[in-house]
């Protein structure tokens, strides 16, 4: 019985899939454009069931703050790929920006089960 349990634990651990988003406390920097700030972020996709993540920028009360990510707000990150990207924000929004988040985008696959949507938010202090 204990070998069966051990095998199950190994099988389950092999199936683990993860979402990682850093840095925890990013800093706003001046971009190459006047009046526009940028934040450099890194996303690592270890979820083999996810290929797309949506970027979001929010204020203290979780209201959306306008921003731009080159290539669009939904970014394609293949399994085990790390993507570095810049989030561009207007200078006038500097004081409003509080959270920068990425959320996994799930696909329906027609099975009776629960899906996991993961979201990680970094905080601009």
């Amino acid at each position: 019985m204990k070998y069966v349990m051990l095998l199950l634990i190994i099988l389950y651990s092999g199936r683990a899939t993860a979402h990682e988003f850093t840095p925890t406390y990013p800093k706003l920097e001046q971009s190459y454009m006047e009046g526009v700030l940028k934040v450099s972020m890194r996303l690592f996709n270890k979820r083999n069931d996810i290929r797309y993540y949506q970027v979001g920028v929010y204020d203290d009360d979780w209201n959306k703050v306008p921003f731009v990510v080159m290539g669009g707000k939904i970014i394609n990150v293949e399994y085990l790929e790390t993507k570095n990207f810049d989030v561009y924000i207007q200078s006038k929004s500097r004081k409003k920006v509080r959270y920068i988040c990425t959320m996994s985008k799930t696909l329906q696959d027609g099975k009776t089960k629960t899906l996991l949507k993961s979201r990680i938010c970094s905080k601009v202090k």
Binding site: Y12, R15, A16, T17, A18, H19, E20, F21, T22, P23, T24, Y25, K46, R47, D49, Y99, C101, T106, Q108, G110, K111, T112, K113, T114, L115, L116, K117, S118, R119, I120, C121, S122, K123
Partner: protein, 167 residues
Amino acid sequence: MLNKTTISCILLSFWSLSSYAEDIPITGSVESKCIVTQDTAGVYGNPSPESLTTASASGGVHPVVRYDVIQADYYMAKITHPTSFSESPVLNDVVDFTGSTSVDQVSDASMSAYDTNKVEYDNVTEIDLSVAGSTWFKVESTADYGYDKAFPGGQYQAVVTAECIAI
């Protein structure tokens, strides 16, 4: 008198005979971060016609999500259990969703306090990740259809949202 070609040949032969040891560095850094991992995908069991549940006694599997934090008190976990199906056949009666989130496994014994310190509202559970390490959270979800009405045949999916928010 040695000409240039001879000198070059001598230098080259010395160079080819000598061996070099190179140090190849491996660099890394440990920084504050949160990693959200889907440890176990949930499955709904159908113990009776009007009910779908992730309870293992009813043929289901509870979804388990793991949070890894490198440093204590940097993040808060926010787990939302489902209140609707993201995919289902046409349903013409009310579906009553219930659920909960609890600590399943811990890498540090003091994390077991998360269950007593968690904040619950609506279908959301918030936990301050006050200890560095890994915590596994188990999410329970049950859906009951109408008043003892049988769920129509088909596939059903619901979404659990696991958030990790810097504090």
